[in-house]
């Protein structure tokens, strides 16, 4: 096993997802297949290879420090599932 059910549960929590029992079994098994397939990368010698994290070699893309109009409060909240007054409302944060 590359990944256990408990590990999937932990990662799901990090990603703010939940799964039912059956779903969890299916996912864990599918993820194992995928992670096993990825093992083939271990046979590649990458000593001294700089990771390629961007598909471009560009650098220094800047904008000048100029203020442009923002959205209005109404526009900012237009898509909000639970707008209250001038704010986005969310359920209480349990700490």
């Amino acid at each position: 096993m590359k990944i256990t059910r408990a590990e999937v549960a932990h990662v799901a929590h990090l990603a703010r997802l939940t799964f039912g029992e059956e779903e969890m079994d299916k996912f864990t098994s599918q993820l194992n297949d995928i992670l096993l397939y990825m093992e083939k990368l271990n046979s590649v010698d990458t000593t001294g290879v700089e990771p390629m994290t961007h598909a471009t070699v560009l650098h220094n893309a800047f904008r000048e420090d100029a203020v442009k109009p923002s959205l209005s409060n109404e526009q900012s909240l237009a898509n909000a599932p639970d707008p209250r007054g001038e704010f986005f409302r969310v359920p209480k944060v349990i700490e």
């Binding site: 893309a61 904008r63 442009k68 923002s70 969310v90």
Partner: protein, 475 residues
């Protein structure tokens, strides 16, 4: 056993750019909720960040001022976590490749000046604000602050006491404000500080377990929180206990730090390079161009004041507390040529007036030129020091130049020796008894005659001239 505190500080300073770090929304404080917001800082689907050049320049300035190595190639990463004040579900920050590393600043330490190392300075975006409802199980999100540029300045664990921590913070604050890259306003959150504290037996090399302190929003609170925490850890250790690695919040009202244990989850931020932003490459030419715009920093200025103006260290410290005050002082000296006298007036009356009105030196109604002119008038004997007090007050109240005030108040000093001699002669004639006693050896009565002359001239006579004439005429 004697313990030694080991302290490292993390300062978050908001940069004073006009627009946010990755979009064109205003950074101004105090706007209506969710009005300085656009698709980019609201984290809407499909939008992309573009880095504000000024943020990079400001960070380079701070790196130069704190003697850091500037990484010629640096880049942004994503710090992933969920919270309603973080609309994208990740914060764009620098992680593996910060802009600056390995610097340090000098501070007045417990015994003498010492260097506190700076581990790194990196750029990142601020989060929004969450307001908790006291009556309903809900919170309200305002995303105006989201994307306001921050730099995080991380110190080495070089600090050994609460006082030293406060001194370090004041210096960092002073430099940021001098560079005009941060307004330094702690109430509005423009300058925030977290601390890592641990204790170790004196002489031991390795560090003890540390606690992270948060929620200290003034220099004073940082010092108080550290003092408390050092004592707390000392009691724990002396009782044979163990310090737990945890985050503790400073409770200002109770004056204690409180454990967040159980309330914070084990974070796994899954940092990785942000594919939407490209590498920042900083050339030598760019650094030199920025170096050319750097102001003189507080410590250098202080040393120059001591050297050039021959004023006491205390004066130099007070006068260089802000760039504007130092500039004001220097202008007065340039125009009147009397560094110590100028220092006395600026530190005395001017700062007192401003403090009473809670005004900044930049809003001082007395222009430097007026103060310099007044000092020259004293030097020339046109007004007395006592008159000058009255003049400066009036100048502060009305903003008028000293000559106008003097004329309007009729404060011109009598410097005509002939006229004054006539007054003295009258007084001698009117007080034969005292004159006889003085001439008989009662030297103390000299003061009596000075007083009489001042009274007769309503205080306008030049005191030096009175002295000279009396010494000539009385015997």
């Amino acid at each position: 056993m004697e313990f030694e505190p080991v302290i490292g500080l993390e300062v978050h300073a908001q940069l004073r750019s006009d627009s946010k770090i990755f979009c064109s929304c205003s950074t101004q404080f105090g706007a209506g909720p969710n009005t300085h917001t656009c698709p980019v800082c609201l984290g809407m689907p499909g939008v992309l960040p573009i880095l504000n050049r000024k943020v990079v320049e400001f960070t380079i300035k701070m790196a130069l001022a704190t003697h850091c190595r500037i990484n010629r190639e640096n880049s942004f990463a994503r710090k992933n976590y969920f919270y309603p004040d973080l609309p994208k579900g990740y914060q764009i920050s620098q992680y593996a490749y910060p802009l600056a590393e390995a610097g340090g600043i000098e501070v007045e330490g417990d015994e003498n000046r010492k260097c506190i190392g700076i581990t790194r300075i990196h750029m990142e975006e601020d989060a929004g604000k969450l307001i908790h409802d006291e009556h309903f199980p809900a919170s309200y999100v305002d995303l105006n602050r989201t994307g306001v540029p921050l730099i995080e300045i991380v110190s080495e664990p070089d600090i050994r006491s609460a006082e030293e921590a406060a001194a370090y913070l004041r210096r960092i604050h002073e430099i940021l404000v001098y560079l005009e890259i941060c307004d330094g306003n702690m109430e509005e959150g423009s300058f925030r500080c977290d601390a890592n504290v641990s204790l170790r037996p004196r002489g031991q090399e390795e560090f003890g377990t540390r606690a992270e302190l948060k929620n200290m929003n003034s220099f004073r609170n940082v010092q108080r929180a550290l003092e408390y925490e050092i004592k707390r850890q000392q009691y724990v250790l002396e009782a044979g206990g163990e310090v737990i690695q945890e985050t503790r919040l400073w409770d200002d009202a109770q004056g204690v730090t409180i454990s967040m244990r159980g309330k914070e989850e084990a974070h796994d931020y899954r940092y990785f390079p942000d594919p939407d932003l490209v590498t920042i490459v900083i050339s030598d030419a760019w650094i030199e161009e920025i170096r050319g715009t750097m102001p003189e920093l507080p410590l250098e200025k202080r040393e120059r004041f001591l050297r050039d103006y021959q004023i006491p260290p205390y004066d130099a410290g007070v006068l260089t507390a802000s760039r504007a005050l130092a500039d004001y002082y220097e202008e007065v000296v340039r125009l009147c040529g009397q560094p110590k006298v100028a220092s006395n007036w600026v530190m005395g009356d001017i700062l007192r007036f401003l403090k009473e009105d809670k005004r900044d030196i930049r809003d001082c109604p007395i222009p430097a030129a007026s103060l310099a002119e007044m000092i020259r008038l004293i030097e020339d004997g046109a007004i007395s020091g006592k008159m000058a007090k009255e003049v400066s007050e009036e100048m502060y109240r009305t903003g008028k130049p000293p000559q106008t005030v003097i004329t309007e108040k009729g404060l011109v000093q009598i410097t005509d020796a002939g006229a004054l001699a006539a007054v003295i002669a009258e007084i001698m004639a009117a007080n034969p008894t005292q004159l006889a006693q003085y001439r008989g050896g009662k030297d103390k009565l000299f003061g009596f005659f000075v007083g009489q002359v001042m009274k007769a001239t309503q205080g306008k006579a030049n005191p030096q001239l009175i002295n000279d004439l009396l010494k000539k005429m009385l015997p």
